[in-house]
């Protein structure tokens, strides 16, 4: 018989306001096995834990039931606490009387009654708990970074510098990501490529880093410390080792002059040849052939690039290659894109070439961009004298047109854009329509104020209702100045839309392969919003950059470093403690029928001939054996097993049955 202690947490008033905590204590005191019951304001606090430890020692407790918040929140805390007092951590059960009781019920009597039932179920379960020991599994000392933008680059460099091998998989032909498209970066106005390019080169030359550009992750199996990842290296049609990056092929590609293929890198503001490097500083400096557009691949004719290539690097026969690599940890750094603006017809983005997005503006201001850094209107190539910026286009929307969140970076980059334009062309008139200017960050508000005070950028609080192209080629912006309570009709030359950011499209597929969870907006979910912000709830998966949520470059780089530390912390271990809640086979009952192995997703079940001895049995027969390092504790085998031989430790048949019984009592 267990000696169980029950500890009921008030969680301040979070629980106590709706659940009569004292009454719960009184009612569970006489449950079978309970020898001690108490309540406390905050069980998870130092003092609360001390109370638990003292009670374990004083009452010689063999099991604990904590009635508190969700076990997903503090089960670990209380297990560690039990361990401190010399109790096996798996002798702890948590009754969730906050998220699943006090927070959702209003009636005090009803909530108290439910809390008691939940506590009883947990007590009944603990009565059947047995001490469990964690096992061990080896760690492959290599990390995979999915995405080669600034987030992925920084994570990779930090891990590689710590002495571990890292691979980066990047979908595009070059690493660099979104940041490589930018002109300058806030709040210090460094040139983006001046600070990014050296890092790209460093990645390329680092002995611990392997780059898989123009590649995609195709499949992931395994688990923390032991992932097997299938990577598709798309056919580049150019031999990486032979190419010198001279650029001859790009210059001679006949499609380059025809101006038909919009450059993805330049957001369609200029065109590119069919054989191309996305931008001059691309890493690796090896072009790819866009087979969908290439004349040779479409008709079998042309072949100019192969003919003129001085190092004979062009290879039309190249095929996709699939490699499988083992990793101990995976970092998702898939970044972001901006939303499609088709649903915002009122801003005339599709109607007028002079209504552009902020990323397009970055390209227009970039010295290596389509206009050589000279700001001009795409319609008539004239320099705009008046520019209107519209903030929150698709951000902070609660309907399906946009995104419910704040994109976080727009206020700052708009101030940046305004100042850069004013710096170059001081007589430009700039108006920013904003809802709120959000500048929490070091030197951020100062930066924004500079735009107003020093550069005299006109900030108007209010949103634009419609952008109205005029017959004379100008744009009429119809908006509101909320502080003046006036409708504004402003004639301008160019409108720049701060379109909402969104996670890159492919992230859903990747998250599914990794069994990492994503939220309603397709941002990857962290294991804990505050305490484990760079880890996915799935062990061994880490998060870096915009894939997790909107953030700027400084924040991305910090997060990348944090993710790297977590990865290094994992790879530094030779063995990992494994979840002891694994399946276990009782050979007395096992028929060796193989049903369990058929449903095991981890290949953790094998069969061997074992000597089985018991009442009336003494024979050698085929029985199932579970590999504890491979078993992840899903329990699929236990429900498939016809004879009930398979059971799951920590969630055993008897434990769950007894929970059912006590709930239905």
């Amino acid at each position: 018989m267990q000696r169980i202690g029950v500890f009921v947490c008030h969680c301040g008033t979070n629980i106590a306001a709706t659940v009569d905590v004292k009454k719960v204590v009184e009612l569970v005191r006489f449950e079978p096995g309970v020898v001690f019951a108490d309540d406390y304001m905050y069980m998870c606090s130092e003092a609360g834990q001390e109370k638990i430890i003292a009670a374990i020692k004083e009452h010689d407790l063999t099991g604990l039931v904590i009635c508190s918040c969700s076990p997903r929140m503090h089960e670990k805390t209380f297990r560690a606490c039990a361990e401190k007092a010399g109790l096996n951590p798996y002798m702890v059960e948590v009754a969730n009387i906050r998220e699943q009781c006090s927070w959702i019920h209003k009636d005090r009597e009803e909530a108290t009654e439910k809390a008691v039932i939940l506590a009883r179920a947990a007590i009944a379960k603990v009565n059947l708990n047995t001490p469990l020991q964690e096992g061990e599994s080896p760690v492959t000392k290599r990390a995979l970074i999915i995405g080669g933008g600034i987030a992925g680059i920084q994570t990779a460099l930090d891990i590689a510098d710590a002495g571990y091998e890292v691979d980066i998989v990047e979908r595009e032909p070059s690493i660099g990501g979104r940041m490589s498209q930018f002109d300058k970066t806030f709040p210090t106005l460094d040139c983006a490529s001046c600070i990014l390019t050296p890092k790209m080169v460093e990645v390329n030359q680092h002995p611990n880093i392997t780059l898989y550009t123009y590649s995609e992750v195709e499949g992931v199996s395994g688990y923390v410390g032991n992932f097997d990842v299938k990577i598709r290296k798309k056919a580049r049609s150019v031999d990486m080792s032979a190419c010198t990056g001279c650029g001859e092929c790009q210059a001679k590609c006949p499609l380059g002059k025809m101006g038909k293929i919009p450059s993805e890198f330049d957001r369609g503001l200029r065109t590119r040849p069919a054989i191309y490097m996305p931008f001059a500083q691309a890493v690796p400096a090896v072009p790819v052939i866009d087979r969908e557009n290439c004349t040779y691949f479409k008709t079998g004719k042309c072949g100019v690039c192969a003919k003129i290539c001085p190092s004979k690097a062009v290879n039309y026969e190249q095929e996709d290659e699939i490699v499988t690599v083992k990793y101990g940890a995976i970092v998702v750094a898939t970044g972001f894109d901006i939303i499609n603006l088709d649903k915002f017809g009122e801003y005339a983005y599709n109607e007028s070439p002079d209504v552009i997005t902020s990323i397009e503006l970055e390209r227009l201001m970039n010295a290596s961009g389509p206009t050589g850094g000279h700001l001009e209107r795409m319609s008539d190539h004239k320099q705009p004298k008046d520019i209107v910026f519209i903030q929150c286009v698709g951000s902070r929307c609660d309907d399906e047109k946009g995104k419910p969140y704040c994109s976080k970076v727009c206020c700052m980059y708009t101030a940046k854009h305004a100042m850069l334009i004013k710096d170059h062309w001081p007589d430009t008139n700039i108006t920013v329509f904003y809802i709120d200017v959000r500048t929490p960050g070091k030197n951020f508000d100062e930066f924004y104020r500079r735009a107003v005070e020093q550069y005299h950028v006109n900030y108007v609080k209010g949103q634009v209702g419609k952008v109205i192209p005029q017959p004379d080629g100008s744009l009429l912006v119809q908006g509101v100045d909320l502080l003046d309570n006036k409708q504004i009709m402003k004639k301008t030359d160019m409108v720049v839309l701060a379109a909402a950011v969104e996670p890159n499209k492919g992230v859903r597929k990747i998250a599914t392969m990794l069994t990492a969870s994503i939220d309603n907006n397709d941002f990857l979910t962290e294991a804990h919003a505050k305490l484990r912000p760079v880890e996915s709830p799935t062990a061994g998966i880490f998060l870096s950059g915009m894939a997790q949520g909107p953030k700027d470059i400084p924040e991305t780089v910090s997060q990348a470093g944090a993710a790297a530390v977590k990865v290094v912390g994992l790879l530094a271990k030779d063995k990992l403690k494994t979840n002891p809640c694994t399946a276990k086979c009782d050979p007395m009952f096992c028929n060796g029928c193989s049903t369990c192995a058929n449903v095991c997703p981890y290949g953790a079940i094998t069969y061997e001939d074992q000597q089985v001895r018991g009442p009336g049995v003494n024979e050698t027969r085929r029985v199932a054996v579970v590999n504890n390092a491979l078993c992840q504790g899903c329990g699929a085998c236990t429900s498939a097993c016809p004879s009930g031989a398979m059971d799951l430790q920590g969630f055993s048949n008897r434990q769950i049955t007894t929970e059912v019984d006590s709930i239905c009592r």
């Binding site: 009944a124 059947l128 009782d586 007395m588 009952f589 096992c590 028929n591 060796g592 029928c593 193989s594 049903t595 058929n598 449903v599 069969y607 049995v617 024979e619 027969r621 085929r622 498939a640 016809p642 004879s643 009930g644 059971d647 055993s652 048949n653 008897r654 049955t657 007894t658 019984d661």
Partner: protein, 319 residues
């Protein structure tokens, strides 16, 4: 029948097999028993006629562990069970010498007894017998049609082919002449109240004699889950009541996707509970939801319950 005995005797004598699993004459004409014959001499009591309904495949589980091969007589429908046992690693194929015995349907003695009191002997039930069975009773002789006396299960016969065998003895006949799922559909059409009343009425007859479990070739667990206390809390009373009430449902679920619909459960039930109605409901659902599946037809085929497709229907959706 003598031909079969001769062949079995030869197999035993030349050492091909060490023993024979077949049927032994009972004390009445209609109750032969499954039996393991160890010597050629003992085969004089071997019998094979219309009353040999028992599915002998399950006996091979124990026989597989014995030295030497065992000859086992399997009717076409029994061979499905045998395949299923191979799939589950319960029998060793190499240790069996399968005689696929012919079958023209097996007889239900209750049907014969109905209206025929005081039976003294029955004849004409052999495989090569006539279309009529001759019954002698203390009140006089009578002929009834073989077909009319068939077991219910034979009216939904799975076919005359043996799924697995080493040699075949005798001709078989497909006796199916009824809709397999007609009974299930009848229940499905009832109101919840009627359904409950129907099953309560049937299940309340159960005396928990375990005859169904013992005869079922799919119920071949070394130790039955119902003998496992691991599903339950300490109180034995709970175990008893839960098991008592849920036994047949759980049993049906455990054999779902593995049950070949051999019908032995219903045949042996002393209370006449139509137990096959559970199994057949699962078979019907599996066929409907996941495509036609016959357990034991192909020993390589994945059981529907250890398989899935991404597009499977959602629970509760009526297909």
């Amino acid at each position: 029948m003598q031909g079969l005995i001769d062949r079995l005797t030869a197999l035993l004598s030349d050492g091909t097999v060490a023993r024979v699993i077949g049927w032994k004459k009972g004390d009445m004409a209609y109750n032969p028993e499954p039996h393991m014959f160890e010597t050629a001499e003992s085969l004089k009591d071997f019998v094979y006629d219309g009353f040999c309904g028992a599915n002998l495949s399950k006996m091979m589980i124990e026989a597989s562990k014995l030295e030497g091969k065992t000859a086992v007589c399997l009717k076409p429908c029994d061979t499905y069970s045998f395949n299923q046992l191979i799939r589950e690693h319960r029998v060793v194929r190499e240790n069996a010498y399968i005689i696929g015995v012919g079958c023209r349907g097996k007889l239900d003695i209750e049907k014969i007894k109905k209206g025929n009191k005081g039976i003294t002997s029955i004849s004409g039930t052999e495989l090569d017998g006539s279309d009529d069975i001759k019954i002698e009773t203390i009140y006089g002789d009578k002929n009834i049609s073989y077909k009319d006396a068939l077991l219910d299960r034979c009216h939904v016969c799975k076919g005359k082919d043996h799924m697995i065998f080493d040699e075949v003895w005798g001709e078989s006949k497909d006796t199916a002449d009824q809709e397999r799922f007609a009974e299930v559909e009848k229940i499905e059409a009832m109101t919840p109240e009627e359904k409950f009343a129907f099953f309560r009425n049937e299940l309340s007859k159960c005396i928990r004699c375990n005859a169904c479990r013992n005869v079922c070739p799919a119920c071949s667990c070394r130790k039955c889950i119902f003998d496992n206390t691991k599903f339950d809390a300490q109180q034995k009373a709970n175990v008893v009541s839960f098991e008592e009430r849920m036994f047949h449902i759980i049993r049906a679920f455990h054999v779902a996707g593995r049950c070949t619909d051999c019908g032995e459960c219903s045949r042996v039930c002393p209370e006449g509970i139509p137990l096959h109605l559970f199994n057949r409901k699962f078979i019907k659902d599996i066929d409907k939801f996941y495509g036609e599946f016959q357990a034991g037809k192909d020993p390589e085929a994945q059981s529907p319950l250890t398989d899935f497709t991404f597009e499977d229907i959602e629970p509760g959706e009526r297909g």
